[in-house]
């Protein structure tokens, strides 16, 4: 397992601005993932972030809108750029500690509201 923290836990931002979300893990992991979730709904994968390589984005998500950094094996950031109210959501990071075996451990999430 892994213990994951996220900052900030929540934020209210104005449209047109950007917010960077941080994800810190208590152990070194190869695979980190960023998800978006509407309250009470399922998770949508934004991108996979592996240390030492460019993030891999899912269909409908682009690097210009959601740039990701992965400077080392315990840390990653997701930036939500040029925000609009449609970006209001919960953003979650997760890690796979077993190298792709399927089990993922999640951070507590960042609740973003864009006004």
């Amino acid at each position: 397992s892994a213990v994951i923290s996220q900052k900030p836990s929540r934020d209210i931002c104005q449209r047109g601005t950007s917010l960077t979300i941080q994800c810190q893990v208590d152990s070194q992991v190869t695979m980190m993932f960023w998800y978006r979730q509407q309250p009470g709904q399922s998770l949508t994968l934004i991108a996979t972030a592996n240390q030492g390589s460019e993030a891999t984005y899912e269909s409908g998500f682009v690097i210009d809108k959601f740039p990701i950094s992965r400077p080392n094996l315990t840390f990653s950031t997701l930036t939500v750029s040029n925000m609009s109210p449609e970006d209001s959501s919960i953003y979650l990071c997760s890690v796979d500690t077993a190298g792709g075996a399927g089990e993922q451990y999640f951070g507590p999430g960042t609740r973003l509201t864009v006004t």
Partner: protein
């Protein structure tokens, strides 16, 4: 279209009752995970099943993986208000590091 179909979408029961949540797919998975998420928190991994026909018990929770590894169920006996939350199933495949999530089942247990 969700690769994993969960049912029901919502479930509201009285404390002490039993409940079952289903997770079905037309695809075969090498592993199936169940998560529970409470408001304001991230999903918490409850169990992973990997063998067709496998049954795992975690106190009052029983998880089953279908023989063909296409479906799974979560059964809660004598539900308690602390069981309230969003239950998510997720499937993993051996040739893919990503998980496919179901739409989720919101369970409310009334005291």
């Amino acid at each position: 279209t969700q690769l994993l179909e969960q049912s029901p979408q919502f479930l509201s029961i009285q404390e002490g009752e039993n409940l079952t949540v289903y997770c079905n797919s037309s695809s075969v998975f090498s592993s199936l995970q169940w998560y529970r998420q409470e408001p304001g928190e991230g999903p918490v991994l409850l169990v992973t099943v990997v063998t067709g026909g496998e049954v795992k018990k975690l106190k009052r929770l029983t998880f089953q993986f279908g023989d063909a590894r296409k479906d799974s169920s979560l059964h809660i006996t004598a539900a308690q208000p602390g069981d309230t939350g969003l239950y998510l199933c997720a499937g993993g495949r051996s040739n893919d590091y990503k998980l496919s999530f179901g739409a989720g089942t919101t369970v409310t247990v009334r005291a």
